[in-house]
Every structure is written in C-alpha cells, then in structure tokens.
Amino acid sequence: MLSRVADHIYWMSRYIERAENLARLMQVSVELLLDSAGSGGNPGDYWSPVLAATAMEGSFRLLYPEPKPGDSAHFLTLDERNPDSILSCVREARENARTVRDQISDEMWAELNQLYLLVGSERGARLLETTPQVFFEKIIQSSLLFDGITSATLSRTEGWNFLQLGRFLERADKTSRFLDIKTQTAAAADTALEALEWGTILRACSAQASYRRVNGTEFSLERILEHLLFSTEFPRSVRFCVRMADEMLHDISGTPTGRYSNRCEKLAGALLARLNFSGPSDVLDRGLHEYIDDLQVALNETGQALFDTYVLLPQETLRSVGRLLPGDPLEYHIQKQQQQQQQQN
C-alpha cells in the first residue's frame, strides 16, 4: 500500500472517531447541564471541562478572547476555524476518504460523504440549534455505522490495519482524557452531584451500561478506573484499545506478538505490558492526572512512531507526506498548481 494512502486511511478513521467522541461528550454535557440546573450548579461552566478534556482551551481563548454565551458551543461544533470542531473533524475524515476512495468501499465513502453533507449544511445547523441531542446522536450513529460498514465491506489487508489503528489510538486517547475530567473539576459539593459527574464520564465513554453490569449502581473510583483503563472486555477501555492497536501492528509487519521489529511496535508493546501488569492502585500511587498524562505521552509517541515507520521515508523532508496546516502558504501553492492542470473538459 502507498505510504500516503496508509496515512490518509489512518487519519480518516481517527477523525471520525474524534468527531464521535466529541459529540458524545457534548451530548452528555448538555444533559448534565439540564440536570444540574435543578441542583444549583453554575450552568455557564459546563463547556469548560469539555474544552479542557479535549485540549482545546488554548485555541478557544485565542479565537474568543472575550467569550460570550454560546461561543464555546459554536467553537466545539460548527466553527470552521477550530480544526478539532465536529464540523472540521467530519470534513477531515471525509476529505481523507475522498483522497483514497479507490481504496475503501463505496458504502464507506457514501456514509462519510452523507454525514459531511448534513453537518456542513443549513439543515445541520438548524438541527443543532433546535435539537442538539439529535444532532449529536446523528454524528455518533454515523460513526458507529461507518465502523460496521467498514467491518462488513473492507478486505482485511493493510488498509484495514491502518484504519483500525487510527480508530483505537484515537479512542484510547479520548477515554483517558474523559476520565481526566474528574481531576479537573472542583470537588463536588455533595454525593448526588458526584454521582452525576461519574455518570456523565461513563456515558461520555459509552460505558454506563457495561459498568453497571459489572459493578451495579455504586460508583467508586477504583471500579471506574478498572473499567475505563483496564477492562479486557469493554471495547473502549484504554487497555482494550492498545491491545487492538498492538495486534494491528503485528498484522502489518508479521512479527510474532511479544516481539517487535520497529519502534512503533516496541512502544505499543511496552504500553500494553504496562496496562496488563498494573491496576487501579498503581494509578492512585502515581496520581490519576499524572498517570493519564503518562498514558497520553505514550499514545502520542506510538502515533508518531507509526508515521515515522510506515509513512515518512528518510530522503524526503519538505516534500514529505506530512499534512500541512490549513492556511500554510505552501498548501495554497500546491492547491493552485493542482487546479492549473488542464483537464481538457
């Protein structure tokens, strides 16, 4: 498979997973907003944990030095200037898919394209305005459907491996970040509110039902850590995601599990071993926030190593396959030249 194609496929699935997670976090936050209005919380603050959990606080402040009500919600959903807004993620997913649509199934392309046509349209904006929950639901459903279509239509070749890598690395990152919300909010005033917050985090990870099946309705920090970080069954736990990513890497290279043939496999394998052989008490010893920080560093390094191993070839620097940021002057010139090519129409 072309290195550039592998990269596009990886980012296609990362972005759709990112959109799904953000939509779910926002969906449960809207609910929490409605609930807490009754329990005396300050509704204005509810988007700041979302901004923090998705690491978008900095760019938000840059774009909105004096935020008005509604700014943060717009910034997170339909703001084109925010590269991680739902709209931008869906567009990136779709643009990556468009670039490699000869490599994916027609049905996969059609699903992403339809979602993009909705989110980018007047209809989408109206839906968000009138029934935000339905809007978020639509994003979540579409991402899940895309996952299903992929599994039913895509051959299990390298393309599949890179696609799954994108999905699971992104998901592991988001699950750990959402868990970190707890360390960033002020200690809850009462246990009812605390339960509400844990419930929100579990639902943001789509984990509430599976948690209850294992643990009942009691919330405890240890059990939540066990479920979101270490579960071997729950498909959104960090350990589950890293195990899947590790499997995909070994599928690509053919190296037996437990060994490594490149830096990316080494990093993923080491992270998996760490998760396999530790538990909630190790997290608490290190400190929840610190532990999650370590996790995210390891996940980022794995993603970077994947790029270095399979996409970047050493002889190329400027012309490398790295994606340029929107607004990069080089990007503009490349686009102009692409358009100059006469297609005798």
Binding site: M1, L2, S3, R4, V5, A6, E95, R98, T99, R101, D102, D106, W109, A110, N113, Q114, L117, E158, I252, Y310, V311, L313, Q315, E316, R319, S320, V321, L330, H333, I334, Q335, Q337, Q338, Q339, Q340, Q341, Q342, Q343, Q344, N345
Partner: protein
C-alpha cells in the same frame, strides 16, 4: 405532454426530421419517455442528482475558498445514434488518430512533413506544446496519444464535424460510465425497447492500453494513475478510473526516481512503476526539466522516460497535435500519411498568423468564433455574434499582439437535442466527445459524452461553464 411545446429550430434537430416527424430510431424511446408527467421526470432527475451528490460524482468548482463540489447537471433524455451512422464516425476517428500519431512520430523524428512543406515548419516549431527536447526520443510502440477525446459537432445538414482533438489529458469519460449506470437505474424499460451498445469495457480497455506500452513485459506490469491531487476539478474521475482499473492512484510525492527507474513509496518499501497514466500537464511533470517550481511532479521522471524505463500515457509533447493551428492542417496530414481523403470533415479555420487570414478575421470579428490556440475548457474564446463591442475590441488587440495564438472559425450552430428545462422539453445545443484508445488496436468507446449547453442559445458546453451531459446510445442494429 412533455413534447408539446417543443419546436425544432432552423438547424439540425437530433429528434425531429425535416418533415417535422420524430426520427424512426427515436420512436421506441419517445413512446415510453415522452408520455411521462413532467413532475415525474423532474423527480427522477432530482433523485439522480442527489444520488450523484451522495456518491460524490462531482467536479470541484475553482475560485471558491471552500472547494465546493458540484454535480455535473444530468439530462434524462438520451441522445441516440443509429449503428450505421456510428460506423462512419468510428472509421473517421480511427483514421484521424492514426494520422495524428504518425504526425507526432514524424515531428519528433525526421520531420518529413515539414521538409516536404505540407505543413509550414513555423506552425509546429512555434506551438506552445512542442517539445524540441524530445526530438529523437523513442516512445514505446511509437505511439504518442494513447487516450484521445475528440470533440464532434453536427452542422445544419447533420454532418459530423471535428471541432477539436484533445490529445493531452481529455476528461469526461467517468461521466459516460456514471450516466449509463444512472440511466439503467432510472429507465430500465428503455434499454429493453432498443438495443444499446455497452460502454462498460472502457476501464479494462484502458488498462490493456497502458499494459501494452510497459517497458517490462511482465505478466502484470505496475500501472499507476498520476493525479495532480484532490484539489483538481477532475479528481473524481481520476479516482474513479483508478478504482475501476484496480490500479494505484498516485501523486508526484508518492513517486521517486532512483538510477533512472521510477518507484512508488509503499508501506513495504519501494516498488517499481512501469506505466504512468498521467493526468498532469507536461510542464509540471519534472521540476528538473520543465517548470522548476512544480510541486506536483517527480524529479528525474523525464530522464527515466528517455531511458525507456517507464512509459507515459499520453507521451510528452502531444500538445503540438491538438494545437488549434495544427488542427487546420489535419486533413493535409491524413492525405500525406495515409493517402486517403478525410472521412470526417472539420470546421473551416482561419489562422491569424497568415496575413490574408488575419485581415479577414479582423474585418469579420463579429461573425466569427475566435479561439486561443492552446486553451481548452471553453476559456480564451470569443463568440462574435453574442459578444459585446468591448469584448470584440479586446480580442482585436490580442490578435494583433500575438497572431500565432489565435484562430477563427465561422460560427457553426451545432445540432440541438430535446432537453428537460423547467418541466418541458426544449431544444439545446449538444456536442459529442467520443473517447479513443490507441493500444494494440484502436478502440472507440461506442458513443461518448454528449455535452449540452443548458442555457438557451448558448454554444458553450463545458462543465466549467454551465454545461450538462446526457447519456449517449449507439444503437445496436
């Protein structure tokens, strides 16, 4: 009824003959299509366009920050061509492409046709797309144009005339295939009532054409499609063709030249490339040889081509054959190389670089169509009868400044075809672009892309300028 208000104009009408009757070969389609309610037909078209949008069968509109993609407007009334009529067109196209390829071989080798003064040397040597650096370079199978899209129009008498040859990167074939799929979906009953020749072998034929020129004649030479990238208006077509042929679609940055061989960069290392179906202009192919600022090309590619290690389709330098000044000499070429009279006529052409012609052009500007010699896509054109005084004046200055760059032709009011407009059928001008593949044999795709000028009276059919398209049916007899 849909056809109630339809009036054949004073020009060739594809549907109605000179006695005001529906042409017999249209009858089976007319019987089934025209009794439909206008709303019904419009709904079907709407559904189709929605389907095209969802499937991303679109072209990118330039000059728009957001990179808007648009559906190529689709007209549901198919254009029909009787089998025996098509046979003549096909023979004419084969004759023409044969002569063009012989001409290119000659121009890039001995230049006999110039020495014999059949074509003035300056015509060729001053053409913008002439590549003197390729004189004497061997190309596989001595073929230069492998994929050609020739534009045909029909004059008042229904004669097919060649309007231009597109021998660089002709586009539009994906719409031929998509339109056919759409028509089968919406009007399956129409196909049963009249035999239609299939178009679906095109991708396989194109792949065979590419494999035929592979320098390494292995069982499966590695053919790739080189695209400018996702921002190009025709990216959909590039990705469509690559998918249909099952080959990789690559950008310049995916390729690398080492020791005169071309490789693509894959997750498993470098893999040699044998044939490149390129959809980028000569100028951008290789920054070491052509434009230094090209970010789309592959440094060293031209060297690999010269050494015969990789084949390009189309070859470098074909633009000298589809130059609009060269066009005027194609009938001479056919006589010179093949000793035959041209089967297909073409539009009389005045060349501004000839003093007599220039005088005539400047005196008759408001009656003529003036075209820039090296433009395509309906750009750089003056249509005298509909142009403003200022536009005419602008072209007068341009012609005086660079006569070599301009040609002029009498306005040909090409044929009209019933087209769905606001719930009724009205006559709109159509042209026809058949696609020709020159591989082991020469194959012409039955029919081609019928483009329709959707604005009443307009003669510009290009997708970039408000044109639409129709499915084109060559009838099997």
């Amino acid at each position: 009824m849909l056809l109630d208000k339809y009036s054949p104009a004073d020009l060739f009408d594809e549907l109605i003959d000179s006695n005001g009757k529906v042409r017999p070969y249209y009858q089976p389609v007319a019987d089934r299509l025209f009794p439909l309610k206008p709303e019904e037909l419009e709904q079907k078209v709407k559904n189709l366009e929605l389907l095209f949008l969802k499937q991303g069968v679109t072209f990118t509109v330039y000059g728009d920050e957001r990179g808007t993609e648009r559906v190529f407007p689709f007209d549901p009334v198919p254009r029909l061509i009787p089998g025996e009529e098509w046979e003549v067109v096909e023979a004419g196209l084969i004759q023409r492409i044969t002569a063009l390829n012989l001409f290119l071989y000659d121009v890039y080798h001995e230049q006999k046709i110039l020495k014999d003064k059949v074509i003035p040397s300056e015509v060729v040597l001053s053409a913008a797309h002439y590549r003197p650096e390729f004189v004497g370079v061997q190309v596989p199978r001595d073929t230069y144009i492998h994929v050609c899209g020739t534009d045909l129009i029909r004059d008042r008498d229904g004669r097919y005339l060649v309007l231009e040859d597109n021998g660089r990167c002709p586009s539009g074939v994906s719409y031929v295939l998509e339109n056919r799929m759409a028509m089968k979906r919406v009007f399956p009953q129409l196909f049963g009532c009249t035999g239609v020749r299939s178009v679906d072998t095109y991708p396989a034929d194109l792949l065979a054409t590419l494999q035929y020129i592979a320098p390494r004649q292995t069982a499966q030479p590695n053919c790739v499609l080189l695209t400018p990238g996702v921002h190009n208006s025709a990216y959909f077509e590039h990705s469509f063709l690559a998918r249909q042929m099952g080959i990789e679609i690559v950008e310049g940055r995916d390729l690398i030249v080492l020791e005169g061989f071309v490789y693509m960069r894959t997750t498993r290392g470098l893999q040699q490339v044998d044939v490149i179906y390129r959809r980028i202009d000569d100028d951008f192919l290789d920054p070491k040889v052509f434009r230094k600022d090209s970010m789309l090309g592959v440094p060293g590619l031209v060297d690999a081509v010269r050494r015969g290690n990789v084949a390009l389709a189309n070859a470098i330098g074909t633009g000298v054959a589809d130059d609009k000044v060269t066009y005027a000499y194609v009938p001479e070429m056919i006589r010179y190389y093949l000793g035959q009279d041209p089967i297909l006529d073409q539009v009389p052409t005045y060349l501004a670089w000839r003093e007599d012609d220039k005088k005539y052009i400047l005196e008759h500007l408001p009656e003529l169509v003036v075209k820039a010699a090296n433009e395509s896509g309906g750009y750089g054109m003056l249509i005298g009868p509909t142009a403003s005084k200022a536009e005419v004046e602008e072209f007068r200055q341009k012609i005086l400044a660079t006569p070599r760059n301009y040609i002029a032709q009498p306005v040909v009011y090409f044929s009209q075809h019933p087209t769905l407009v606001d719930g009724a059928l009205e006559g709109r001008h159509v042209d026809l672009r058949p696609f020709i593949l020159c591989g082991e044999s020469i194959k012409v795709l039955p029919g081609g892309l019928t483009r329709v000028a959707l604005t009443r009276g307009s003669l510009v059919v290009n997708s970039s300028q408000g044109g639409g398209s129709k499915d084109t049916w060559v009838l099997a007899d």
